[in-house]
Structures are given as C-alpha cells and as structure tokens.
Symmetry: C2
Subunit: 501 residues, 2 copies
C-alpha cells in the first residue's frame, strides 16, 4: 500500500484551533486509490517527521489534485514550508480506541490501557471527538484512585521530565475558580528571595479569564525553552514560565484543547493534570491551595476533603510531597480579573504601593509562609513573619525584577483601549460577588486573548456603597466586546449584589 | 451589536464530513470587531435561513477579507450560491451546555434539560466535541429509564412526525451487530403482500458495513421526500426508504455523525434512537429483533433481557406496541456482508433461487410470521405458514418489485471490480465465525461507502471444508482497499476458525 505519490504543500493558512487537518483534492491519487473519505484519520509524512491528521476533502480550485494543504497547527508540527512535499497514507485504527470505548461503557482502565490512551493523545493521534469522549468518560467521579494514579503516571511518562540535581524543589498550585487569585508571582519572588529553588512552570487559562502564564507574560517573556529556563533558575533560583513550551505533559496540553470549549475540568483529570506537571517539572515539595466557596470551583468543605485525599494519595504514590491549604473562596481576590489587570495587582503588592489589594497580599504571605515552613526555609510557626519581612524589605520585589530580567526583560502590563464602569443601582451594602459571573464577564470582554481585557472590581463583600457609586469596570480592546460584555452585565445584576441599606 | 457587514460567499468546497464550518479571513471586519478566535461558534445568516457554525480563521489568499467560505454541509444547509452574501455574528453560549456539563459530572437530566439539549442538537447548534461528550456521558448505563424516556420523547418532538390516518402501522427493527442479517426488505415485501401497511424508514450504516437503506439503495432509489413516500405507501402499502431524508429524528442523525467515528452505539441512545424513529414514522406496532451471540451487539440472554425491558417500558410510555424476538446471533446471516452483496441475498430469497441462503429466508419468515400475528393479519400460530405461502407463491417478490418501481425503479445491485478469495488453511470443520471481525473486514474493503464492497461467506459454522477450499471472498472497488483488508485478514486468522479434522 505504501505512502503513495508525494504531494506538494500549499499554504492555505486555515486555523482549526489545535486539530491537525490535511486538505486534499477530491481527485488526488491517494484519495482515489485508498478510498479515503472526509473525516478519515491519515498519516502525513514530511522530511522532518510524521503526524496523524483529519482529512478534509476539497472540491474547488484552492488546491490542485497534486497538492495538499495543512491546518496551521499541522504545518507547525511538521515544520514544513510552501512547496515541500508530503506523503499521505492510511493510518491503521488506533488500538487504544478499544480501551476508550471500554471506559465509555463503564469498564475500568488498567495501567496498560491508560498508558496506551495517553501515549496516543500525547502523540497527537486523537481527533477532537476522541478527546472529548475521553474527558467526558472520565468526569463525574468515573476515574477511581488507581485509574487516577495510572493517568497521572502515564501523563508524566509521555513527556519531558526535568531533573534539577538538588532538593527541595518547591512548587505551588491553586486549584482555581477564584478570579484574580494571582498569588504565584508573589510567592515565587518571596520563596526564591528566601533561598528556595522554585522553577515554576505555569499554564495558560483553560476556562478562566487568565492563567498565571498569561498574567506573567504581561510583565516578562514566558515562552522559554528548557536551556533558557535552566539559565534563569541557575542564576535566580526560580522562574515563572509557561509550561506548554517545554512539553512537560503533552497529553494534558492536548486534553485542554477540548476541556476549554467544553468548560470542563473534572476531578480526576484535574488531579492528574496538576500532579503530572509538578512531577514532570522535577518538584519535590508542592503546596496546593484549594479555595472553597459557593461559586468557587470547590464548593463545600466536604468536596475539598475528597479532593485533598485524592491529591495526597496520588502525589504520595508518585513520590511527591504535598501540603494542602484550604482558603476562603467566597469572592474574587484583589481588584483585577484578566491577565494585565491581575499583573497590576501583583506589582502593587510587590512594590508595596499604598493602594495595593490587602487580600491578595495576605493570601500570598500565608501561602509563602506555609511553603517556607514546608521546605525547611523557616521554622514552623515563623513562615508568615519571614515572608512578610522579605516582602516589606523590598527583597521580594528586587528578586521578582531579577527573575523577569533573566526571562528576557521586565515590562509594564498594557492598558485596554475601552473602559466602561458599572454603577451601584442603589445605596446599600455589597452582599455577594459571584466568582463565575465575574469570570464570564471578563472573558466576554476579551480575556485572556486580549491581555489588557477583563474586569476591575472596586468593592469587596461587606463594603457600603452609595447609589451610583462605581462597583466595577469592564476593560476591552474592541467596542464590540465591550458592548457584548455589557449586555451580559445588564442581564445579570446578581454579579455584584447590593443589599439596600 | 448586530450581525456586522455582509460578506460575499466564495465556494471553497471543503468537506468537513458533517460539521458546519465557516472560513473567514483573519483581517475581516467581523473577526476584528467581535474579537473572534478560531473554533468560536458563530451565527451565520443568509437569505434563506441561519445556522451555527464553527469558525476557522484563514490567513492566506484563498479568501479576501470581505469574503467568507463555508464547509460543504453548511453551504447545503443554507442553500446558498457563489456570490451570495451572509452576515456573521456572535452566537451566545448555549444554555443547554450547562445541562450537558451537569450530565458529564454525573447529575440526572430532567425532561426539560434533556429537551433543551436535544433541541440544540437537532438545530445543528452542537459542535462535534459537544456531541461526542454527550454521547460518552450517556453511555455505559448512565441514562436511567426516565432519562431514556425523556431523550426519546425529545427526539420525536424535535423532528417531523408522520400520521397515516389508519392502524395498525407495522414496523420492524433489528438491534444489529449481525453482519448480513438483511431481513427487512423481505419482511416488508411479505407484510405488504399480506395487506399490512408498512412504511419502512431505514437508516444507513453507523458502525456496520451496511444499513438497510444502503442495501435497498443498490436495488431502488431510497432518498424520497415525504410526498413521494406517501405516494409509494398509498399505492403499494409499504416502502423501504432512507429515514434521514425525511428528518424524522434530526437529533439522532446528528448524533450518528460522532457515534460512527467513535464506534459507539450505547444502550440508552440505542433505545431512544430506535423508538424515536418508529414513533416519528407513525408506527403503532413495532417488531424488534435482538440477535444474541458472543460476538453480536447483545452478547448474553441477561443483556438481552435488560434491553427488552428498557425497550418495552419506553415504547409503552410513548404509546407504541412492541413485540420483541430474540434470535440466534452466533454467526453472520446469508452469504453477503456489504450493501450490494446483501442485496443479492435478499433478491435470491425473494426470487426463490436454488442457491438462496436458507438461514436468511428462515429468519425473514420467522419475523414476518410474528409481525403478521402481532398486527392481526394472521391468527396466532399461523403467521409463519402464511408468510411462507406469500414467499413461495412469488407474491412477495412481485410486491417487492412493485415497491421498488414506485420508489423510482428496480435495479440489479452492482458488482465490485476486485475480488480476492481467502482459503481454508487446513481440512476440518468450521468452528466459529467472528461477527465483529467479519464486519471490520467488510468495512476495510470499502463498505458501506462503496456499495459493491464487502465480504462474501462461503461457509457456515459446522461445515466441513478441505484444505485450500474457499472460506470467503473480499470484494473491493480499489486495489488499495483490497490489500488493506487482506492485510487485516492475514493478521486475524480467527475471523473464520477451521478446527482440524
């Protein structure tokens, strides 16, 4: 059967988000001889490698029968140029789909089956519908503890694994769901100022308006390759970079491409995602923050306890020490929600500005203190005081600037072109702020794609406000997005509830 | 916000299988003003209607910034032509996705939530990954009885519903998984020859090498619209047409587009799919055949009993009378597997040819007899004899020809260009035939896309064979597919097991 005649690549520039797609003319020889139909999964071989892609059959003159087009992601994966040649052949059905179907039908996945699925995912052999089916089949408590361990281990093994040649290697993670809770850059600055090694690899937003990598990117470059990361960490003891550029858990990066549009982030996947990236990043000590609140990701102390147990068990099985902190998840943290707006809060805390958000500072100090104690850089009971000393003295700020410089240079976060304020409908007291609605509005305004977009909160729960006083502002880069977010605001007055005085 | 400036349509002819995709240039005004990104779901409005499509952003000269392209299915849905204009606007997030996420997380769907999901699916508002997640979340026994009833009812209500103004209206269905088990055209011929009304709407293959509609299409046109179906049924009392052309259960047709590549056909979906189409087709009496065997879809009497209970309960709730027959699913039925090869078997039985497959004839008579008794066209205990009389006298054959004529004209099924025989490796007795492998091989040979492709079995379980005697033949339209199927045959000698004598 072989790989057929070579086809000449033509740049079509079609961005399919992250699915590898190949475009072939209906009359191309390989389509006819192999009997390919639209949506077939085919193997595409170029000089520099091979991928599996979904076939879209083209019946127009944008391609000649001897030409092939690729989606942008496939073009990048194969590192090809206009006029290069590729060969296309049938991709045998994936063996791991049998295991996937078994899981969908309710059967347990053993370690070997889980590994087969994860390896195929990491290699890009799963079409989006397979990824979506896998994610849905594993959500809702349908991964047991052993399956979660197997998933985590397979995710680690499918990617790069860093070794720093020393211990402890500190890490932290927040389970999320709390807009504006951007403590990581502050914690890294304090921990490394205290002498800990903390090579922090962060993610971009999945379903939230900003990930730590998105926020850090408004202050310094984050897409560093591994040698660059090593140089930064050797020099400064820590970094805040995007993990996706290093391929620490490529299967997780693939799953995110369906979790994001589906708005899913389920327990077993969450544990595997978090812990696989910590283990792959070479961490020995991971501090995990779980905010608990009625509109946070984790809504009750019972749910938090279950998640803690699972995180601790899986981490221990993989040889990672964890300390878990439950924190207040009742309302957003700081003022800004969105990459640049959150960066402004981070900078205000590090620079000890008068108007810096106190809640963000206190959370960062609490977490830094716990991490210093956990990693032996402060005696039990003295961590917070040590952290506060490092922040108040300006040492944490200087360390942050040094890290940003080492990553490629510090910069001030951008400001949005359009701002619109939402006022209090009446005088009274702020009764509640809905985390989920705040996140949604920030996203409708353009975050995280537009780094400067998002939402700026002027009030906290319990604050007294006058009628017409500003509650929050929308920041957007286009009038369309500002209008769109504002329409949503108008339809959802419960975002910030003002109880009449 | 509005729908932005009009864009001029350009035919790109990209076949994305069945997902509606719109292609817009990166610099088009609506992309910039709305901040659209690749994979966004957008509303596309044309003169004749509107659809929801997935956005692919294009960065090349195949489109100008003022132009838009559509995938083939979107082009058809909107009934547009080159040069027509469309308007594109943001599609608000679907409310039913909240219910979908709830189901994925393990919550029950009430009737209203199920209806919201099914209505969005039927209207084409679900991207493939949402469909895949829904199917996976409902598989493996995760739909309870009430949810299955709600799903079935919502599927019926989302589409056309036929009313024949009389009773009984007979229908039959086989739960499938048994290659070559193509009794429907024979049963319709016998039942209508007996005076019953049987307007049979059939489906195309989902995961099998042939659906009844695929097989019938090799003998007569099956894509009839509703007025044409009514004319056929008024004249002849019955038909065998493709249900998809009539929109009886459009949500089910959408789900099939992910069930097929996923190879999924789970219990709750199966029951809802089967019964929604029967109810929508106006049936009052449905005979359901469940073949049971180790490599059939239903593998044990226990599984069959569970499925029977669910089918009967849901059907009764929707006011449909059912009679369920369990049949032997140990091995394929007839000789042919694949649309045209199965049609040859059907014709051999109807024409009472000497070499007609006896097992297919006996099954068709058994089912026809049960249906005649169930619908009151024969006294209990006399159905099979009545059916045999109609077949042996040639009345069923003449009725079949009349139906085929009324549908647009009878034709002989095609023959494949390439045939290759697989021989017995040794002398002995045929010990087993694996239904699943037989189906897979027929599909690798090109069925059901190539109507003439598939597999022709020369032996039954228990037959004695000499070394080198032909066991079965592969039929394909291209040498590549023949080779591909043969490679699989060589790797799977257990397809037809010959026990040495």
């Amino acid at each position: 059967m072989g790989a057929g005649h070579p086809l000449t690549l033509k740049w079509l520039g079609i961005d399919t988000y992250q699915e590898a797609v190949i475009y072939l003319h209906r009359d191309c020889e390989v389509c006819r001889s192999e009997g390919f139909e639209a949506q077939a999964r085919v193997r595409v071989e170029a000089a520099g490698g091979q991928i599996v892609a979904t076939l879209n059959v083209v019946d127009s003159d944008i391609l000649a029968p001897c030409e092939a087009g690729l989606s942008v992601v496939a073009w990048r994966q194969l590192r090809v140029a206009d006029g290069d040649t590729v060969r296309v052949s049938a991709e045998p059905p994936l063996d791991s789909l049998v295991a996937l179907r078994g899981k969908i039908y309710g059967r347990r996945l053993d370690a070997a089956a889980m590994r087969a699925i994860v390896d195929d995912i990491a290699a890009g052999r799963y079409a989006n519908i397979y990824l979506a089916a896998f994610v849905a089949a594993c959500a809702g408590g349908r991964l047991d503890v052993d399956e979660t361990v197997a998933l985590t281990r397979a995710m680690v093994d499918a990617g790069q694994r860093l070794d720093w040649g020393r211990a402890p290697i500190a890490d932290k993670h927040c389970v999320g769901g709390l807009p504006g809770n951007r403590t990581t850059p502050i914690v890294v600055a304090i921990a490394t100022a205290a002498g800990l090694t903390m090579p922090k690899t962060s993610s971009r937003a999945i379903t939230s308006p900003a990930g730590t990598a998105d926020t850090m990117e408004t202050m310094a470059p984050v897409e560093l390759d591994l040698p660059a990361i090593r140089r930064v960490v050797e020099r400064e003891g820590g970094c805040v970079v995007w993990g996706g550029a290093v391929g620490l858990s490529p299967a997780d990066d693939m799953l995110i491409r369906v979790e994001r549009p589906l708005g899913l982030d389920s327990e077993g996947q969450l544990v595997a995602s978090v812990l696989s990236k910590k283990v792959a990043a070479g961490a020995t000590h991971a501090l995990i923050d779980i905010p608990v609140g009625p509109t946070a990701k984790v809504r009750s102390p019972q749910a938090a306890a279950l998640l803690m147990t699972l995180l601790e068990h899986v981490a221990a099985t993989l040889g990672l020490s964890t300390r878990i902190v439950l924190s207040d998840g009742a309302q957003p943290v700081g003022r800004g929600v969105g990459p640049a707006l959150e960066a402004r809060d981070v900078l205000a805390v590090l620079r000890r500005e008068a108007g810096a958000p106190a809640d963000l500072a206190e959370r960062a100090l609490m977490l830094s203190g716990a991490l210093l104690e956990f990693c032996g850089a402060a005696a039990e009971g003295t961590g917070i005081a040590t952290a506060r000393g490092l922040l108040d003295s300006g040492r944490a700020w200087r360390k942050f600037l040094a890290i940003a410089d080492a990553q490629g240079g510090f910069r001030e976060p951008p400001r949005a072109a359009h701002v619109r304020v939402v006022d209090a409908p009446c005088a009274g007291r702020v009764g509640a702020i809905d985390n989920r609605l705040v996140s949604r509005i920030a996203k409708l305004a353009g975050a995280p794609r537009d780094a400067a977009a998002g939402l700026e909160l002027f009030v906290k729960v319990g604050d007294r406000v006058d009628a017409g006083a500003p509650l929050y502002a929308l920041h957007a880069e286009s009038p369309g997005e500002l209008d769109y977010a504002f329409d949503y605001v108008a339809a959802h007055p419960e975002t910030v509830v003002v109880l009449p005085a």
